[in-house]
Amino acid sequence: MFRRSLLVGLASVAFAISAQAEVLGPCGTPDAQTPAPATPATASAPAVAAGPVVASIPLPGQKAPNFELQAVVGEEVKTIKLSDYDGKWRVICFYPADFTFV
C-alpha cells in the first residue's frame, strides 16, 4: 500500500508534468566559465585531513554528468542520453531495484 502510493506518486508527477505544458521563460544565465585559481607555489598541508574515500555526488552548481543508457520507454527499449533533454528541466531519480518503491 505504502509502496504503491509512492509509485503512483512518482508516476503522477510525470503525468502532471506532461499534462501541464507550461512555457518556460528565460531560465537564468548560463554558467560563466571561471578561470581556475592559480596553484600556490609552495605545497602546504591540507586544511582538512583526508577522510575515507567517499562517492562524489555532483552538488548544486556543478554540471550534471552526461550519460548514455539503455532505457525502457513505453514498451520499447531505447538508448537515451541526459543531453537528449538539454533545454528542459530534468529530474533524475536513482532507486535501488525494480519491485521496490521508487
Binding site: F2, L6, V8, L10, A11, S12, V13, A16, I17, S18, Q20, V23, L24, G25, P26, C27, G28, T29, P30, D31, A32, A55, S56, I57, P58, L59, P60, G61, K63, A64, P65, N66, F67, L69, Q70, A71, V72, V73, G74, E75, I80, L82, S83, Y85, D86, G87, K88, W89, R90, V91, I92, C93, F94, Y95, P96, A97, D98, F99, T100, V102
Partner: protein, 125 residues
C-alpha cells in the same frame, strides 16, 4: 512544469520490462526507465553502493543548461516526497523566470517572491 523525468537503477532493461508488465502502478509510467547494470552512471552520481551493487535513492534536479540545482540522497528504506520535489522545481522555475527574485523558506507556487541581493551569477548556489 514541463519537466523530463528519468529513473535509473542497476536492473537490466528486461527487469524493467517485467516490472512494467507486472506492476499496475508502473504499467503506465511514461518516463524513460534507464538501466545501469555496470553501475557506471550511478557511481558518477555518487549513489552506487559497492556492498550491494544497488543504488541509494538519489534525486537530482537539473536545469535546462545541464547544471545540478538540487540533490536529495536517502537511504534505501526511506521514501521520497513527490510534493516537495514539485515544490522545489516550481520554485526554481519561478526564480529562473524572475531574475533578482527569490522563493523564501516554505514558498509554495502562487506565493509572493522576495527580492534578493544575491547576484545572479551565483543563482545556482
Amino acid at each position: 512544469m514541463d519537466v523530463e523525468v528519468i529513473s535509473v537503477s542497476t536492473d537490466t532493461v528486461f527487469s524493467h520490462l517485467m516490472f512494467k508488465q507486472t506492476s499496475p502502478t508502473v504499467k503506465d509510467v511514461k518516463y524513460p526507465m534507464a538501466s545501469d547494470p555496470s553501475g557506471e552512471v550511478s557511481r558518477a552520481y555518487g549513489v552506487w553502493q559497492p556492498e550491494s551493487g544497488l543504488n541509494k535513492r538519489g534525486r537530482f534536479i537539473v536545469n535546462p543548461e545541464g547544471t545540478v540545482m538540487a540533490v536529495e540522497v536517502l537511504t534505501g528504506p526511506v521514501g521520497r516526497s513527490v510534493d516537495e520535489l514539485i515544490r522545489q522545481i516550481k520554485a526554481m522555475q519561478a526564480v529562473a523566470d524572475n531574475p533578482g527574485m527569490a522563493a523564501p523558506a516554505g514558498w509554495q507556487p502562487g506565493d509572493d517572491m522576495i527580492t534578493t541581493r544575491i547576484p545572479q551569477d551565483v543563482g545556482t548556489y
